[in-house]
Amino acid sequence: MYISQPDGSQRRLWNFHGGLRLSEHKELSSTKPVSKLPIPERLILPLQQHIGTPSQPLVQAGERVYAGQTLANPQGDVSATLHAPTSGTILAVTEHAILHPSGLTAPCIILKPDGCHTWSPNLPPPITDFHTHDPNVILARIKWAGVVGLGGAAFPSNVKLQTNTHTKIHTLILNGVECEPYITCDDALMRTYPNRILQGAQILLHILGANHCLIGIEDNKPQAIAALYNVIQQYQLSQIQIVKIPTIYPSGGEKQLIKILTGLEVPSQGLPSMLGIMCHNVGTAAAIADAVVLGLPLISRITTVTGRGVNNPHNVELLIGTPITTAITHAGGYTDSAHRLIVGGPMMGFTAPDDSAPITKGTNCLLVTSPQETPNPPPASPCIRCGQCAQVCPANLLPQQLYWYCRSQNLQQVQAHNLFDCIECGCCSYVCPASIPLVQYYRATKSILREQTVAKRKAEQARLRHTARQSRMQRLEQERQQRLQQRKLPQTLPNATNGQVDPKQAAIAAAMHRVAAKKQQHAIQPRNTDNLSPNQQQQIQAAQIRRHQLNAESTHEDVTP
């Protein structure tokens, strides 16, 4: 299909299978300017706001901190830095409720702001001439700034930027699609701060050594398209192109967006980098620009607070760690019909059991709905095999067959039917006339399978350890025997020279020795196959992380809501 673009040209776009046209409800929040929340009376900063390992806290209760001061350092390869969003006193480093479907608690730094917002004197200098800097310097800066994917999944950006070890990235895609209903934070960002996004795009292009950047935006955001387009025209940014795409859910899914823009399909369970493509959210690009050009860490974000459950739905720039209650109060408080608190969009977001948690780097939307907006589904009835689910599935799966296999726990068939290519977009559940909670089945089965894989790996490791131990014991025993024999040897040797040692027995002993040695080798060998090159290991790890990210409960990073 050809779609006319802001520059008047016609651009060829591709379709993905299925998808839905949903009522958008974006006007609730998109019609007002982005407001800024005054500094809240306390901030709660979970040590894990990102995918990967929690950060390592550097501060203690009672310590005074500056705005932008590093509070926690990344730990391990996949982790992110955490900064003080404002100046104040650390009250505690303790367990606190976090945003989680089951209302879990996790270690958090509790900060009591002093209201002055005094910046740290140790902030790094701005890098305005980033073109002249080595990409690694810029990457280090992004790592320092604690930038994570702001579309929802919060994968550390510096790690993502480094995962391409084998293919050269030629195309950068910025995801400004925001296809989930209600959410407008990216729209607001694009309208308000087009320069930051485009600066971020240039920095990303420089890091990746890519030659062009496509910014995908749905055609329901004409103002955002115009804002970005004007800046591109103004600065003659010929490497960057805005691409207007049709509004259809879930075109903001990373794989779907790549298909729409390029016609290429990311291989099943693979990474976009295999195609030489990398996607980032527009918000992430803006945060990267701030980190590099201004030398500021990621301490705030734009979040959509919306739904008929709040009195004044709007987009608001919040400090990371702002309690939900504060954000809701700023949005006029709850209406009487507040019924569900959804973190993320209505299609892929999860419900929070209460509002005691703070917002984190990845919180793009707090959606408080009325019972009319998100009715409780009627009880599920039998599947009538109508195929509506298969017609809308963007991954072109057969959801009803997956459902049968999930129900009967036929784990083999489930995988043969590509369960792991399901992006949990919810289209199938949405259309199912029998109101079967299909996605719930898929999620549950995926976690069973993942646990199994982990258990299998553990069992395999245990087996290897066991065999290794056995062969070690054997070797020790053998050595002991040998020593014993050697001690005896002086007595027997003279006899041996006298031909007392039976040559047959000697041959047997030698043979047994060989067998033992062979066994030992065998026992160790499997371990050797584990000795992959660091490169290979990294690839595996990257794939695993990526899969983990895709399957994370929270909204997918680039299914920009």
Binding site: H339, D354, P382, R385
Partner: protein, 359 residues
């Protein structure tokens, strides 16, 4: 905000649910209602052509279906009202009733519908679990057990020299007694398909057979109207996205193609392709029966295979088989093949076999 005393209100709690939190508007009973709606024109056409007998059949069938379904649900201790309200039993009853001769003895209608609901649907586990299309199981059962009654059709009114009024039909259906002064041959007529079939097997030429009857646009006068009406209803279902084009198009396309080939080979012994398309239960079968979601293939490619096989079988059975119409048997035969077809026609999953596909 700073200087306000800290309030520690208990957190507000919310109901939790899993995503997606939005719901589509379609549900099973909505779908069945659309099917019922789409059947109205065809039903009206049948009523118009064949008179009150059609209505009697419909009423008998619906009542029997409700009774049979309630009975089984009661025995299986399942919710009765909730299940009945999915309307699937009523759809089955109506599809079967529309396929029955208008003057069928009342007890046969009841037996057929009960067989369809109890044996073909509920004994398999109820809606969604049945392998075979219940209405067609009922039809095939009646046709095999009571061939004489099942092939006894009165002609459409425009060809009927001895029309029977509603009271007469009522009497005939419930007592088997014909109105005074009429005998069975006077009121019965072969359907055009039977005519063609019998005629051709007696080595008559198509032209001669056609000359013998009053012909309408495509088929015999009268019969083409319900077919048109069913096709119209089918297009409504397509428009409402309850069915996809794959099954009806492949059935009709295959029939048209195969008949066309035979017609071109020898127009003397083969009727025009449109004759088959607008005769008998073709359109009812193509749009309403073969598309029954529960028993049809669910993959797009599978549906094409399923549909064209049905189309081919209908033509074969009509032309060389022992039964004049063939929709029921063709659909039932292909129902058995559905698991196999589905298995080998899975769509290409996003991101797989990319090289096989030119993108």
């Amino acid at each position: 905000m700073q200087n306000q005393p800290m309030k520690t209100l208990p957190p507000k709690t919310f109901s939790t649910a899993t995503s997606p939190h939005l719901l589509g508007f379609k549900n099973t009973s909505w779908i069945m209602r659309q099917v019922l709606l789409a059947l109205i024109p065809g039903g009206m056409a049948m009523l118009y052509l064949f008179g009150g007998g059609v209505l009697i059949n419909l009423i008998l069938a619906i009542s029997a279906a409700i009774a049979a379904e309630s009975l089984v649900l009661y025995l299986r201790s399942k919710p009765i009202i909730a299940t009945l309200s999915d309307l699937s039993a009523i759809v089955t009853a109506i599809l079967l009733a529309l396929a029955l001769p208008p003057t069928l003895p009342w007890w046969l209608t009841i037996i057929g519908v009960s067989f369809a609901i109890i044996i073909a649907k509920q004994l398999y586990g109820g809606l969604g679990y049945n392998l075979f299309n219940p209405a067609m199981v009922g039809y095939a059962f009646l046709l095999i057990s009571y061939p004489a009654e099942m092939t006894f059709w009165i002609p459409p009114w425009m060809l009927n020299s001895h029309p029977i009024d509603i009271a007469g039909t009522f009497k005939l259906t419930f007592t088997g007694v014909l109105p005074t002064g009429l005998d069975i041959d006077a009121i019965s007529a072969a359907t055009p398909l039977e005519n063609m079939h019998n005629g051709l097997s007696m080595r008559n030429m198509v032209e001669e057979i056609r000359d013998g009857r009053a012909w309408g646009l495509f088929g015999e006068q009268g019969w083409e109207w319900p077919n048109f009406a069913y096709a119209g209803g089918g297009i409504w279902l397509l428009y409402q996205r309850i069915i996809t084009w794959h099954i009806p198009v492949s059935i009709l396309g295959t029939m048209f193609l195969v008949c066309g080939i035979f017609y071109l080979l020898d127009p003397q012994v083969s009727p025009l392709p449109t004759f088959h398309l607008f005769s008998g239960a073709t359109m009812l079968g193509a749009f309403f029966i073969a598309t029954d979601p529960v028993t049809a293939s669910t993959t797009p490619r599978g549906q094409l295979i399923y549909g064209s096989s049905i189309g081919l079988l209908i033509f074969i059975i009509r032309t060389w088989g022992g039964y004049p119409d063939a929709v029921a048997f063709s659909v039932l035969l292909l129902n058995t093949a559905v698991p196999l077809i589905d298995r080998y026609t899975q769509p290409r999953v996003f991101g797989t076999h990319i090289l096989d596909d030119d993108i």
